[in-house]
């Protein structure tokens, strides 16, 4: 018996076909509807099947799906192709951990790490409003919160190397009643994630101080360090972090307005509850508890609006695939396919994808939670949500007007969310540690 299968003009003859019953019936059904072109939904299914193949140790099937995906993937293609290429890379990275090989694989990230200069980073954070949105909302809220204060101290927990602060310094410099004295403290430990700089934190602070002087804003910059731990892993450093967040360690001064700024940062704090803790406290909760205890004037928390820390790999793949298309799509809107800026930006996202999909346990440091969940956590920690004022809203609107149409903003309770074509991208929230007197 001969069966002919037609594929796009080619006619292939097969001898002796026989139906095969397989235990993996779920795979058959799921790929129905993929006939014809491979669109986003189909790619997603293929990714999931690859992942489940890996989890079932069916390396053969995994290989085959990867082969198919490889034909789709292209880091310089259209949005779907680019996304696919990074997801595929992450799956391969995962696979290489699953399958012992004769190779000497060191288990680190497969993606090239790239160091930027400070001015390159300055351009990077403004390529799309992804970061600038958070800066704008936070700075506006901070500015409002420290009105009338003559001394301000900001504890900056972020991964964007102080790119947020020039615009705040600029705004403070123009205050009608004169600028306050400004102190910014950062930690010496930082997750090894993009964007990466080719200079030290001290150098960054140096330049920032330079700028502040140029604008006549009294300024101090501190790098909170624990020299004992400089060679330890990030996890260990973060653990000891809690011991460093005391009034004395941070040199908090009575007459200062304390501001806590968390930008794309809380996700790196472990959410594993300690085994012996009766209250189910994790490092993340402990951190928030300590912060609240410092009685800051305002705490601003900005992060990406998606839940990417589910235990299930499939769930993470799905959520990740249906979230991170946003920056890819935004970049596609105005940068050509061969743009190096675009490729670099996408590579950094690929780094994140790789961590989320390829790693487990303590190596999977990207544990993002959505704004809704984060808000719940803040409330549980005893914070009170602050609404953003009209001026802030207007500032953000002006910002978005300057970027491609497609960027928008919406309010979800007190949270402000950046949207791309209506899809949530980045959320911003502000918190008080005590109930405000009316």
């Amino acid at each position: 018996m001969k069966t002919e299968v037609r594929g796009n003009g080619a006619s292939i003859s097969i001898q002796n076909p026989s139906l095969f019953n397989t235990p993996q019936d779920s795979i058959t059904g799921a790929l129905k509807g993929c006939l014809g072109s491979l669109d986003g939904a189909c790619i997603e299914k293929l990714l999931l099947h690859c992942a489940s193949a890996l989890e079932n140790n069916d390396v053969t099937l995994a290989q085959q799906v990867m082969w198919v995906l490889n034909n789709v993937a292209s880091s310089v293609g259209d949005t779907n192709q680019r996304l696919t290429s990074w997801f595929l890379r992450a799956l391969i990275s995962r696979a290489s951990r699953v399958c012992p090989t004769a190779m000497n694989f060191n288990g680190g990230s497969m993606i090239q790490r790239r160091l930027m200069t400070v001015t390159e980073l300055a351009g990077y954070v403004d390529l799309i409003p992804w970061h600038r949105y958070g800066f704008c909302v936070s700075n506006s809220a901070i500015f409002k919160a420290v009105e009338g204060c003559t001394k301000v101290h900001i504890l900056d927990f972020s991964i964007t190397h102080c790119m947020q602060w020039p615009t705040l310094i600029d705004a403070l410099a123009k205050r009608p009643d004169g600028p306050p004295s400004l102190r910014i403290t950062v930690l010496s430990c930082r997750p090894q994630v993009p964007p990466l700089l080719n200079v030290s934190k001290e150098e960054v602070g140096h330049r920032l101080a330079n700028f502040a002087k140029f604008r006549d804003v009294p300024f101090e910059f501190h790098v909170k360090d624990d020299p004992r731990l400089s060679n330890e892993s990030l996890a260990v450093q973060f653990e000891s972090l809690l011991t460093q967040l005391t009034r004395s360690e941070l040199d908090l001064r009575e007459d200062e307005a304390l501001v806590i700024n968390c930008q794309n940062w809380l996700r790196y704090l472990s959410d594993e509850t300690k085994g012996n803790s009766a209250h189910g406290f994790s490092l993340r909760d402990a951190f928030l508890d300590i912060i609240k205890g410092l009685n800051p004037r305002i705490t601003v928390v900005v992060d990406e609006d998606s839940d990417l820390s589910a235990p299930s790999l499939s769930s993470r793949i799905t959520t990740c695939f249906n979230y991170l298309w946003i920056p890819f799509d935004a970049l596609d809107t105005f940068l050509p396919k061969d743009s190096s800026q675009r490729l670099e930006y996408e590579s950094d996202i690929g780094h994140k994808i790789e961590n989320i999909i390829s790693f487990e346990g303590f190596q999977r440091i990207e544990r993002l939670e959505s704004g809704a969940k984060l808000s719940q956590r803040m409330e549980n920690a005893g914070f009170f949500s602050l609404a953003f004022c009209e001026e802030t809203i207007n500032e953000v609107k002006s910002l978005l007007d300057e970027h491609a149409s497609g960027w928008g903003m919406k309010r979800e309770e007190d949270m402000l969310v950046l949207t791309w074509k209506g899809h949530n991208s980045v959320f911003a929230t502000a918190w008080a540690s005590t109930k405000l007197e009316d």
């Binding site: 993929c34 491979l38 198919v68 310089v76 351009g123 799509d329 809704a372």
Partner: protein, 495 residues
């Protein structure tokens, strides 16, 4: 009742007065508890849009149509039937406005009909009709509107108008020479720019004493002193790249780049360039997933793996450009109607079916444990010559995952991606990706055969077993996440 700010995402910066419906699938549903309890908001997670929403896919024709509703008296066109009806009143014609029928307004979301588009997926649908129409026109339409000042091009006239309002109106120039159109990016750049550091170094040396009252304190080792720019940047002034100075979207590339000559569809003259270079694989990366422009090349198959021809075009020569250049293409200017021309994205050469068939035929040989030899991210001993760089990489992962490529004639999909040494490397041979060069088409995994079975029809799958390589739990010891050393700029090849 908490107010919802729904600034319309698609029309935020346009001058058009179109009102858009509220934003889309990934919605908050506002439910008020009757008992006066706290307002509960049910948020849909990203990727899981409103399950009750009706997903609508309009045809390209519909999406591009403007002013479909035409008055029979004066031939004036309107975008909406309602508007036409109101207009007809003026002619004393009978008119009828359609009522909103159902009490329950079912939420509608729109997907893009273009299969390769991100918005084809219902998970990324757009919530309003105007949005999807604008998207379609912007993304898949021809960019006819050009800004004279900065050469940015737009498919939608209102976008172009909105851009013209702001382009060049405000400019901020840094001492280093870079120009910015936005103040916040200017300020941020300025703060870190070498130009400022140098300037303050100059003033520093001129200042007698660095102890102004409001100067920065010299605290402990962690404190920075403002103005102490002696440690100013040693690196040469970087080339700052800002969105305002980056290259603009090139015409015609916004559309699926593999435009084939027989389908001009009024596209910009960059297309002829594409046509002439398509066989020399200008857009090889983008066209990996692109159509086979010469289906007639596929001859009658003699072997199962005959499908070499669709990918022949992807074999590169090092000298061919990797992407289209768009110099000199004439630009459509002048006010025409907003009507966009649509160039349908050509179907990919490989349907999912075909790809999966091939994957099945490659199958797996249980005796070949070097799975990941093939899944490598590096191109190995292909004669391209760039591999010297790759192999000398510090990054063990890439070097050790190098690909061995046997010269097997039946490995139909040899796809030596010999690109130039870009940061993002090259695509390895797809077939031997799996280290299966010597395999015949006999065996296949049960999983994949089942998959193929679902497409109707049986396949010769032989004695397939789901082979596993005994991965078990004994993985090699993991290094820490941040253990990977820096690699060279000739980065690891990607897939």
């Amino acid at each position: 009742m908490v107010e919802l700010e729904n600034s319309s995402p698609m029309t935020l910066s346009t001058a058009s007065g179109e009102a858009t419906a509220s934003s889309l699938g990934n919605q908050i549903q506002d439910t008020q508890l009757a008992g006066g309890g706290p307002l509960k908001k049910k948020r849909n997670l990203p990727g899981m849009p409103d399950p009750d929403a009706e997903v609508i896919a309009l045809s390209p024709k519909t999406l591009l149509a403007t002013n479909r509703f035409v008055c029979e008296i004066c031939n004036k066109g309107f975008q909406r039937d309602q508007n036409l009806q109101l207009h007809r009143r003026g002619h004393n014609l009978p008119w009828k406005l359609r009522q909103r029928t159902s009490k329950e307004i079912r939420k509608r979301v729109y997907v893009c009909p273009e299969p390769s588009c991100v918005h084809h997926n219902p998970a990324r649908a757009l919530g309003d009709l105007t949005g999807i129409k604008k998207h379609f026109c912007r993304k898949h339409g021809e960019k006819k509107w050009k800004c004279e000042r900065c050469s940015k091009k737009y498919a939608v006239q209102s976008d172009w108008k909105a851009h013209m309002k702001t382009c060049g109106t405000r400019e901020y120039k840094c001492d280093c020479g870079t120009i910015f159109s936005r103040r916040d990016s200017f300020i941020t750049h300025r703060a870190f720019c070498d130009a400022l550091a140098e300037e303050s170094a100059r003033t520093q040396t001129l200042a007698v004493v660095n102890t102004e009252g409001n100067a920065n304190t010299n605290g402990n080792g962690g404190t920075m002193v403002g103005g102490g720019a002696t440690a100013a940047a040693t690196s040469p002034p970087p080339q700052p790249l800002t969105p305002s100075t980056t290259s603009v979207v090139s015409p015609g590339l916004s559309i699926q780049s593999s435009e084939i000559p027989e389908n001009p569809m009024g596209l910009s003259p960059a297309t002829p360039a594409a046509a002439s270079t398509s066989t020399s694989n200008a857009n090889v990366f983008a066209t990996m997933f692109a159509p086979n422009p010469q289906p007639s090349k596929i001859s009658a198959p003699s072997s199962f793996l005959q499908a070499t021809t669709p990918l022949e075009r992807t074999s590169l020569s090092l000298s061919s450009p990797l992407y289209l250049s768009n110099n000199g293409s004439s630009i459509f200017t002048g006010p025409e109607n907003d009507h966009c021309h649509y160039a349908p994205t050509p179907q990919p050469a490989m349907s999912a079916t075909a790809l999966l068939q091939k994957a099945a035929q490659m199958g797996a040989t249980a005796s070949n444990p070097l799975l990941l030899r093939g899944l490598g991210l590096a191109v190995s001993s292909t004669p391209a010559g760039q591999d010297a760089n790759v192999k000398s990489e510090n990054n063990i992962a890439t070097a050790s995952l190098a690909l061995g490529i046997p010269s097997n004639g039946s490995s139909g999909l040899t796809n030596p991606m010999i690109g130039s040494s870009s940061l993002f490397g090259n695509k390895p041979t797809t077939l031997d990706l799996l280290g299966l060069g010597m395999a015949d088409g006999g065996s296949s995994s049960s999983g994949l055969s089942a998959l193929l079975t679902s497409f109707g029809g049986g396949f010769n799958v032989g004695a397939a077993t789901a082979t596993s390589f005994g991965a078990g739990g004994s993985n090699s010891p993991r290094e820490t996440w941040d253990g990977a050393p820096e690699g060279k700029p000739n980065g690891p090849a990607l897939l």
